[in-house]
Symmetry: C2
Subunit: 237 residues, 2 copies
């Protein structure tokens, strides 16, 4: 075995388990490889018992941090050299997760790298996500620090378009989610967004359920962004 793939990727998942499985699919499909042996060795720690992140952050439920740290320790013992976390809300604990020394790839930095490749003419972008992700300002603060001017759907658009569409995707009704999500993206474009970051695992699945030409600006699927960042880590240079 003289393959160049000795870097083992850890995936801290189970939040939810479907998003983790989808991340593994996208990681595989985005990796340049012509046979099994050229793919990235990966250990997925899918622990759906991790307490609800939204309640944990609000202080109304158990703290998920000890569960995150247990998973990270398991992945370290398995030989993983870096960790991807395919869950947006979990990134509220990014610093605490990274404190142990194992690099935790940041999903917002991954999205920023994809934004850079779009070579947009403006620094104004839209960010879509669940209410907690937007309220925690996970994307807005970190992207602002990188020079992006972030706008988001209005409260009326969240209630009428984004949240009902996410609920449709969660019950596998992708087609019904398509039109409202496209309207939300295009409304952000009307207000000057040169691209829209889809900071939630459900939103891309709805947007992919219809013709992409209807979108007036490019969108960034953050699960794909995290997969690409993982591939760059595993295959440097």
């Amino acid at each position: 075995m003289t393959e160049a793939n000795d870097r083992i990727l850890g995936v801290l998942g189970g939040m939810g388990p479907l998003a983790s499985a989808h991340f593994m699919l996208r990681l595989t499909l985005l990796t340049p490889a012509t046979r099994d042996q050229e793919h990235i060795p990966t250990v997925l720690w899918s622990d759906p018992r991790i307490p609800d992140r939204i309640a944990g952050r609000a202080g109304t439920g158990p703290d998920p941090l000890p569960w995150f740290l247990r998973g990270i320790d398991g992945l370290r013992q398995a030989g993983c050299g870096a960790i991807a976390v395919p869950c947006n809300t979990a990134h509220a604990w990014h610093d605490e997760m990274a404190a142990g020394g194992l690099p935790i790839l940041h999903i917002v930095d991954a999205a920023a790298a994809d934004l850079d490749t779009l070579r947009l003419g403006s620094r104004r972008i839209g960010v879509m996500g669940t209410v907690p992700t937007l309220q925690l300002r996970l994307y807005q603060d970190r992207l602002s620090a990188l020079g992006w001017d972030c706008i988001q759907p209005t409260e009326e658009e969240m209630q009428r378009l984004v949240l009902p569409a996410i609920a449709q995707v969660k019950v596998n009704r992708m087609a019904g989610a398509y039109a409202p999500l496209v309207e939300a993206v295009n409304n952000l474009a009307s207000r000057g967004a040169a691209a829209v970051v889809l900071g939630c695992t459900e939103i891309p699945l709805g947007i992919l359920a219809g013709p992409q030409e209807a979108l007036r600006v490019p969108v960034v699927d953050t699960i794909d962004s995290l997969a690409r960042a993982s591939i760059r880590w595993a295959r440097p240079g």
Copy 2:
């Protein structure tokens, strides 16, 4: 945390990585759960560096067994209580993998459990798979021991229908694989098969690409069978 899901499932994967990711998706979708916390804790050891199983079995390539044992040891250390292996050919080493004491769920036993639920009127069934899976008699010998009379595609059908269809699926041309696979299933039905076991991860993807009414007999998707066996292990009684 008083959930009843303290059994951690190990998945020895990477053979190939797409089949592992697909198994994780099906495991999640087949698990009865209404929220993340009711899903099965799972550790996926996806090591695509594992040497080619077909060459290893033929003695023309490195032995994959030490890689299997390394993965099983990693899964044991992660706290896994049983292991599923979403790769048909790897089951040629089932006994050696199970020798360490950790139960290895057998994909053929999983398929047999699904055959039982079909309540067929005859014990004659068809088995489809790659040439090595059929030549190694992984399905035929174990299913025969359970009282099934196994028939398989003719050499002419393998060359004209099954192998070209598998090749189409491997390059994501599912639609082109549908008609030849349905013909192969129905030819087995014409020779008396009351059901057909799809002992390969590519075949079900091709068969699902068109109307299922064209199939004259039920088919058993062995990735789904292994997922159901995993759920029964994790949720006994």
